[in-house]
Amino acid sequence: MPVNETTTEAIRVMTICNACRYCEGHCAVFPAMERQTEFTQNNIELLSNLCHQCGACYQHCQYADPHEFNVNVPAVFEQARLESYTQFLWPAFMQPAVLNGSKFMVTSLLVSISLFLVAVAGQSGVSQILAPQVNFYNLMPHSVMASIFSFSAVVVVISWWMTLRGYWHSISLPSPWSIGMASYSAAIASALTLKNLDGGHGSGCYESGESPSLWKRRYHHLVLIGFFMCFSATLAGTFYHYGLNIAAPYSWLTPPKILGVTGGIMLLVGCTGLFRIKQTTDQRLVSNDNGYGMSLTVLLFLTSLTGLGLPIAKGTGALGLLLAVHLGCVLALFLNFAWGKFTHGFFRLIALVADEHQKTQ
């Protein structure tokens, strides 16, 4: 089977690593590498998605540049991951969204925000858009909001299903039902704890240089937990609306508000931290992804910022604009869920499941 340039380089590097094995203790990649009898496109798709880009193996590599072997696992695996995100993306015509991450993000933001501005203006009247408002639903009826996002959610879920199905088969995983519960739970535990960002010694990763740091892991945890809290806030709000028949806005001490505000603040802090880490990252470890990686962080940050601004803007003339911008961010985030960096979580989780499953074979 012909393989492309990235896979060829990944196979070259893995062949050297498999003869060395000094990095065996750093993360899941190297023990998984040792289980392969040969390196192929398919197991590079698995190994590259097991890599969490912690950089330990690069900083500790006796064969890294300027050695003539020029081994750089994190950089080639990042490229390989990007290719797997592209290759399996459904529908295929959305693949340019991966290759041009920044452009896709900016375009989806502009289109989504415009859409909601038009909708808000249509609902309240152009002249009233800057009038002081207290109630969202005067600006945009709940039913419209719910319809737009329900439809988007369905598109997202179908897209995930199709995309991840392709990946699942490609890395030779058997039917999901034939994989033991223990493999799933171990994989989920690794994903939730970000075990593979601890360096193998618990001191963290090396993306910014030779000293290990736990900050990337911590910031990522803040983002992940913040995201789940905001998601729970939405579920709680839905329950209040349909179950309890209580319409928004909710007061500060209700579950939707507590979860949303806390989660939003965690997202702001976590995303800021991840931006900072991006700035200090050793450039030798990364390959150019045209903004694909950062697009999710930007969207989460903007969504939280505008969301936290809403209660503050209540009763002012800014509420209409801010609501349109916030909903635009959320819609752009939904597009990212389907066709942006958000899918990395699923790819990694499936790779971890495959890794745990292989261990049992």
Binding site: T15, A19, G25, Q62, Y63, P66, H201
Partner: protein, 463 residues
Amino acid sequence: MTSLAHFDVIVLGGGQAGLTAAITAAENGATVCILEIAPRALRGGNTRHTRNLRPMHESGAFPMEGAYGFDEYLDDLLRVTGGDTDHALAELTIRESEHSITWLQDHGVAFQPPLSGTLQLGRTNAFFLGGGKALVNSLYRVATNLGVHTIYEATDIALNISGDRFIDLTYQQVNNTHHISGHSLVAAAGGFEANLDWLEEAWGPAARNFLVRGTPYNKGNILRQLLDAKFKQVGDPGQCHAVAIDGRAPAYDGGIVSRVDSVPLGIVVNNEGKRFFDEGEDFWPKRYAIWGRLIAAQADQIGYAITDAKADGLFMPTVLPPLKSTTIDDLARQINIPADSLLKTIDEFNAATVSGSFDHQALDGCRTEGLPINKSHWARQIDTPPYSAYPLRPGITFTYLGVAVDDRARVQVEGGNPSENIFAAGEMMAGNILGRGYLAGIGMTIGSVFGRIAGREAARHAS
């Protein structure tokens, strides 16, 4: 020439021994400077290619298993050196090795369980998580935090020694000559294994066909100056530790991945197509160290490890694939040795194998009988294509020649007394303890122990 700088302790060489000495001296209050010949990215000497050391331990505490006590350790050392060791220093090294893991952990070095493919080393050897370069990075980080000044690409170091005393030195950096002085000097600049001219003195022209497994920077410049200054030498100048490695490996710095572990699973022939030693004498980890010398003794310093399809997958994967063919005839052509001779060797070998139950993880009963050179274990007929061949060359790892030291790491003057301010650690003095032979992880152990002693004594002298 730039102005004179002064330090309490000057350390020559920034591998484990030098770093340990520098850190220990700094922790004892000394101002310290390390002169490292390599650029920053290639710093650390051969420590960069190492992966473990060998500590004495009774507890089996992580990362060790079981116990490896003083007596057993000393027995092992006496066995491999054939007694060619300074007993007092050997005992000191073994006793002090008990503290090496803790010392390294306290200085940021992480350990891990034994790597896969390392036979039965979990009890005797402690593996660095991420390998030797991770250790080097940690120790440099600690040294920097302690205020140790490291100068990279410090070449052409010229020592000014008066009698047995170090006075000062000059070095070159980017075509500038610099001049520094120090109260104490710690020499930890490794052996001369990367100096083919020097090796040729001992090995003759054969040395030109050696591959240097480690750093290209160990030219022995400092060792030569100390010996020229009439400090007492130890270790056989004509000996080096050489293993059989892939003949296609880089001339320098190939490191661990240049290994070829297929030898015990097949036969090894020279370029006349003839076998020359028992390939199955013992487990490969116990025998690879003699094969460098065996191949160095063959014409053109080359050998070929030949296996058939039955051996595939039974040994550690290699970076470069073997030369392969479905016929012996064609394989011989590929490696450019006489086909009729290779066929004859294999026919005779096949005919001499006695049937037994093959087990590559045990000393099995598969052997040959009636050959001038029999194979003791793992002898199976070479009859299943495709056949594989790996070219083998001697890969030199370290040299034994060094300067004699006492139990305070002070270098010894010919005839007795120690220098008051010149200390040595690491490969430069390892010959005191490992006069010959090989014991996995002993080099790093000596570097760790004598690095600490030299650092402590150098700082004490400077204060």
